[in-house]
């Protein structure tokens, strides 16, 4: 089953993105924790595209596609700006140091990498695309 959504690059649309993912998974009778993990991973990547790749320029937009195939969910998030955005993978941030420094950011992609089985960023033409996938029972 496939679902698609296009949003303008404003963080005000994050709620719409989360509801879209929840709605897509609603008929799978998955544990609430599992649904929340997929919702969170998509929310983090979309927020990064909106804030870091597009500077919250509402004239730009993102396309999301969800595809549940058997026991897997596959997500594509395509950024239509010409900015190439390929985040590094911060696997093990020192959170004690983050607390000491009073840091607000730097955990989003760590979460995404821990929540999902596959995380890939690549370019398609001039645009950046993210693929996420997770095995769900």
């Amino acid at each position: 089953m496939k679902s698609a959504l296009r949003i303008a690059c404003s963080r005000r649309h994050l709620q719409q993105v989360r509801d879209f993912v929840r709605n897509h998974l609603s008929n799978r009778q998955l544990p609430e924790v599992t649904v929340n993990q997929v919702v969170l991973a998509v929310d983090e990547v979309v927020a990064n595209f909106i804030i870091h790749a597009n500077g919250e320029d509402e004239t730009q937009f993102l396309d999301l596609e969800l595809d549940t195939d058997g026991h897997d969910i596959n997500v594509e998030i395509a950024d239509h700006s010409d900015t190439v955005y390929l985040p590094g993978q911060h696997q093990n941030p020192d959170l004690s140091e983050y607390i000491r420094q009073g840091r607000k950011g730097g955990m989003g992609m760590t979460l995404v990498n821990r929540l999902m089985d596959r995380v890939e960023f690549f370019t398609r033409g001039n645009h950046t695309v993210c693929h996420l996938s997770k095995h769900i029972l």
């Binding site: 609430e32 009073g102 607000k104 979460l111």
Partner: protein, 109 residues
Amino acid sequence: MKVTAQPTADTLTLLLDGELDASSAIVLDTELAKPDILDYRKVLIDCSKLSYISSAGLGVFISHLQRFQDANVKLVFFNMQEKVFNVFEILGLDALMTIVPSATEAEAA
């Protein structure tokens, strides 16, 4: 996201209601940044109505924790839903922050 403050003598309880994300985190940040919050001995975060938290929400707590510790203000989370606790757990924040099951335990912490 709605934040309701319930002050008592030496404790401030903040009831979080809704979803804490990159859009709404500013509401909580504004509340935690108030200078007079450091006059309390404890700040209790009632998470019973917190249905979602992203890294932006976690970042707000992380960014204020050292300031609270320096002022000897204890930050305690309670009534956290399993799916929200799971996010703290995945990052290992459950080991760095005080998270207890109930209001009674939060008051005793």
